[in-house]
């Protein structure tokens, strides 16, 4: 009963969040000094052509009407234009990208596997290395190892991802020639190739993200190691690995999982720069294109999708709290 209510509230919240994100995006988009129809107007552009393009794409109406049309389209589908060239977009219709001639949902569907592969692998990598390094740094507090971990973490956050990616390609792709440069191979086609091509992007993303995990783990670990129950665990005769890796770590994970939720959510929405450097056709590129080309339907679709992932990730994280720390259960 309570669980059902909890889930109900979260679900309602998620929908509300998505609605607000969508609405704000729409509203803000109309503050952006650019006309989405301009891109479809051609050169030279005349007032008349512009009006035609606008009308066809449904940008003729006031913006709130358009937003309602959009929301309605999710439920009932939409038709753009009329007659033989009309474009129908079946429900659920998250808009139609006129620049790309595709339904937004299809576009996202096409890109998702790439982004997902990239995000999942990188996240796993940074979680393991970040938390691992954090634990080591905490256990070896004040030693050169700790200092090195700090320097590497700081380098990771300070160095622009673009630079790291580029240097990675130069070093591992060209100079050493150990990994193929760029391109994406489906997991289904060849799992080995898939992993091999993604190895460098994973490493680059992980390098950029691991810092906060390392540092958080270290800091929380230092707090936790002084708790009485760690003493109890030691008194049981557990190995240090178990004491640290199980008893202490579990108590450390709460903030780590929180950051992870936020990071993963946003990463699934697209790791723009990494995708770009490694020529991976992921969602990030799609979103950036949508912004740059003022492709409102695509922008809205991508944004909603990204928001959906963020909300989902955060709900999952919230659910994790209870499992990780029974005291943090929402009462």
């Amino acid at each position: 009963m309570r669980t059902a209510k909890f889930i109900g509230v979260r679900l309602a919240g998620a929908l509300l969040v998505l609605f607000i994100v969508g609405f704000c995006t729409y509203a803000v988009f109309y503050l952006v000094p650019a006309d989405p129809a301009l891109a479809s107007c051609g050169r030279p552009c005349t007032e008349q052509n512009l009006a035609l393009a606008r009308d066809f794409m449904g940008f003729g109406d006031p913006w709130w009407r358009q937003f309602l049309d959009f929301v309605g389209g999710i439920a009932t589908g939409r038709t753009f234009g009329a007659g033989a060239t009309a474009i129908t977009c079946e429900a659920p219709c998250f808009g139609y990208s006129f620049q790309q001639n595709t339904e937004v949902l299809d576009l996202i569907g096409e890109r998702l596997p790439v982004t997902f592969s990239l995000a999942a692998g990188a996240a796993l990598l940074w979680l393991v290395t970040g938390v691992g390094a954090g634990v080591v740094a905490a256990l070896r507090r004040g030693t050169p190892l700790d200092r090195i971990a700090l320097a590497v973490s700081v380098a990771g956050v300070s160095a622009p991802v673009y630079l790291v990616g580029l240097l990675g390609i130069l070093l591992f792709g060209f100079t050493l020639d150990v990994v193929p440069v760029g391109g994406y191979v489906d997991f289904a086609t060849s799992p080995v190739d898939w992993a091999w091509r993604l190895a460098l992007p994973w490493a680059v993303l992980a390098f950029a993200h691991a810092a906060v995990y390392t540092r958080l783990t270290r800091s929380q670990m230092l707090d936790t190691l002084d708790e009485d129950y760690i003493r109890t665990a030691r008194a049981k005769g557990l190995t240090e690995t178990k004491v640290v890796g199980k008893h202490a770590l579990r108590n450390v994970l709460l903030p780590v999982v929180t950051v992870f939720g936020v990071d993963l959510g946003s990463l699934l929405g697209g790791a723009v720069i990494t995708e770009r450097v490694f020529g991976l056709p992921g969602l990030g590129g799609l979103l950036i294109d949508a912004v740059n080309q003022r492709d409102l339907p695509l922008l809205l679709g991508c944004t909603l999708f990204a928001a959906f992932l963020i909300v989902t990730a955060n709900v999952l994280v919230d659910l994790c709290y209870g499992a990780l720390d029974p005291r943090a259960r929402l009462s």
């Binding site: 009485d228 008194a235 008893h247």
Partner: protein, 570 residues
């Protein structure tokens, strides 16, 4: 004479922090043979816990150890990590003083017990779980399967203490180091635990290093006693010898301070039950199920009426009815002793009274106002008139606040009474509870269990409260300090006339302090009445059971009781 199982030779421990050295243990030499029970008693803060923890090298990094601790022929202080690990939990089991913070809050009781079993025994998870259930049964925790699934915060203090004991004996160690293993237990359970320890010794030849301040427990279990004071062992000898003929002045002082239950239940006929109740004068008890009703006095500071607290079951499971229809009241200047079985809902009742939990049903009226109906500032202001001593001193102190700061906290919130300077008041309070002002700047983890408990008491008294809710306030105190605190309570009470809800399992203490006693069992109030009446002529069988189980500081008497128990419980 066989070689001792454990021999401590000139053990000293110093704590070094910020360049200052605090000596905690000075040249302690003790020895223990297999199957022997050595009780270590002594002043709070005298280094008992530190000595015990030094054995398994569990002291914080700030501790400096010297001397030798030879266990089964090897020096524990010089052991390599692998060897030490085998000893920890395997050969030496350890019961920690503060059970409520000794368990990892994020793992279930079951997981932590299973782990303890599997750390030293090559058994499957299933087998380990069975063993865990068996252990819980041994320590007298009913409903083992459910307990195994529970998290530490879902158990009461006494229940946790039993879990910790179960964990320590999980691998049937050769030496059991038990640091105040019965402080949170009611007398009947305490008797069971002592029985269990005795059985371990008899059956498996386990040696026990027992740290306690309860002379009754010492008398009931120990073969030899060591008395510690200010880091040194001041007297050591056979238990009968020391208890009967103490040589050191401190030992004498200690023994003089023992409060035992003087009353013993008289065999007076119990009146007939009417409406499910038996009553005699102001004394009422239930005959069937349910709680005894209460007829609150008009000027009562605290009126608890029909209080029920249900801990919500997770994911559709039925909840625990921790307090069930309890009504009590406390008048100004009155001490209500709340005694009862471990896990019977005493702390839960207290937490509702101090406003930390809202009742499922029932009302709590404090100084004439229903606290559940109050909100915000008003509610907070009302808090100023209640002082609280928590059952678990360790977790109720902010680890990042100095104790002076902690004690001053109520004054920062409500202003110091009579407008005195908070700093002066803190010194005064420290002195009242017998803590040296030198501890002012320490942090909670730098104190002994008893010292922490006294910090909690000092904080509760800071505002001269109108109502003091004290949950086992003297459980971690040695008898001499306890006597001092009890005197303090009594004198403060006379002077200020505050009301007190006094939760304790120590019937001797209750007898001396309380005007009235309420007996709680399974969440229900089974008996209530004036102290003298309840303790001498109990109406409810459970009360009788409690009184008869209360330990006394007399070895012969305790042995005799033990034999009686043996014969009555097959």
């Amino acid at each position: 004479m066989t070689a001792p199982l454990l021999a401590l030779e000139d053990v000293s421990v110093d704590f070094v922090s910020g360049g200052v050295t605090h000596p905690a243990v000075r040249d302690v030499s003790l020895s223990l043979t297999a199957g022997e029970v050595l009780a270590v008693v002594g002043e709070s803060g005298s280094g008992k816990t530190v000595t015990a923890m030094s054995l398994l090298r569990l002291l914080p990094a700030t501790a400096r150890l010297s001397g030798r601790a030879v266990f089964e022929g090897r020096d524990l202080y010089a052991m390599g990590t692998a060897e030490l690990r085998a000893v920890r939990g395997g050969r030496i089991g350890m019961v920690f003083q503060e059970p409520m913070s000794a368990l990892n809050p994020v793992f279930t009781i079951g997981a932590q017990l299973v782990e303890a079993v599997r750390a030293h025994r090559p058994v499957t998870r299933r087998q380990a779980r069975d063993r865990a259930a068996e252990l819980l049964r041994l320590v007298g925790l009913p409903d083992q399967e459910r307990r195994l699934r529970a998290y530490p915060h879902e158990l009461s203090g006494g229940q946790l203490q039993r879990v910790v004991i179960a964990m320590a004996v999980a691998c049937e160690p050769a030496l059991l180091v038990a640091d105040e293993p019965t402080t949170a237990l009611d007398v009947t359970v305490q008797a069971e635990i002592i029985e269990l320890l005795r059985d371990l010794r008899d059956r498996l030849d386990v040696a026990i290093l027992l740290i306690t301040h309860d002379m009754g427990v010492v008398a009931g279990l120990a073969d030899r006693v060591a008395v510690m004071r200010e880091g040194r062992v001041v007297e050591q000898g056979e238990v009968v010898e020391v208890l009967r003929r103490p040589r050191h002045a401190y030992t004498r002082q200690l023994l003089d301070a023992v409060v035992s239950l003087t009353a013993s239940p008289e065999a007076v006929a119990v009146p007939d039950a009417r409406d499910g109740l038996v009553s005699r004068g102001g004394q009422v008890a239930v005959a069937g199920s349910g709680s005894v009703p209460d007829d609150p006095a008009a000027d009562a500071v605290l009126v608890v009426d029909g209080l029920t607290v249900v801990y919500g079951g997770r994911f559709g499971l039925s909840g625990t009815r921790a307090v069930d229809g309890v009504s009590v009241h406390v008048r100004p200047g009155e001490v209500l002793g709340l005694v009862g079985e471990s896990g019977s809902g005493k702390s839960t009742l207290a937490s509702v009274v101090v406003g930390l939990r809202s009742p499922t049903r029932g009302t709590v009226t404090l100084a004439g106002r229903d606290i559940t109906a109050l909100r915000g500032r008003e509610r907070r202001t009302l808090r100023g008139v209640v002082g609280t001593v928590f059952q678990d001193p360790a977790s109720s102190l902010n680890p990042r606040a100095t104790i002076a700061r902690t004690i001053a906290e109520p004054m920062l919130l409500h202003g110091a009474p009579g407008g005195v300077d908070p700093a002066t008041r803190v010194d005064e309070l420290l002195d009242l509870v017998g803590l040296s002002p030198a501890l002012r700047e320490r942090y909670p983890h730098e104190l002994s269990g008893g010292q922490r408990q006294r910090v909690g008491i000092a904080r509760a008294l800071a505002l001269d409260p109108a109502l003091l809710v004290a949950d086992e306030p003297t459980s971690a105190l040695d008898v001499s300090v306890q006597a001092r605190i009890l005197d303090l309570f009594r004198s403060l009470q006379e002077r200020l006339g505050f009301a007190c809800l006094f939760i304790s399992h120590d019937l001797g203490v209750v007898e001396r302090l309380a005007h009235r006693v309420a007996v709680l069992r399974d969440g229900r109030l089974v008996e209530q009445g004036p102290t003298a009446d309840v303790l001498t002529r109990p109406l409810h069988p459970y009360t009788t059971e409690l009184i008869t189980a209360a330990p006394v500081a007399d070895p012969d008497l305790q042995r005799e009781r033990h034999v009686r128990r043996r014969t009555t419980t097959p």
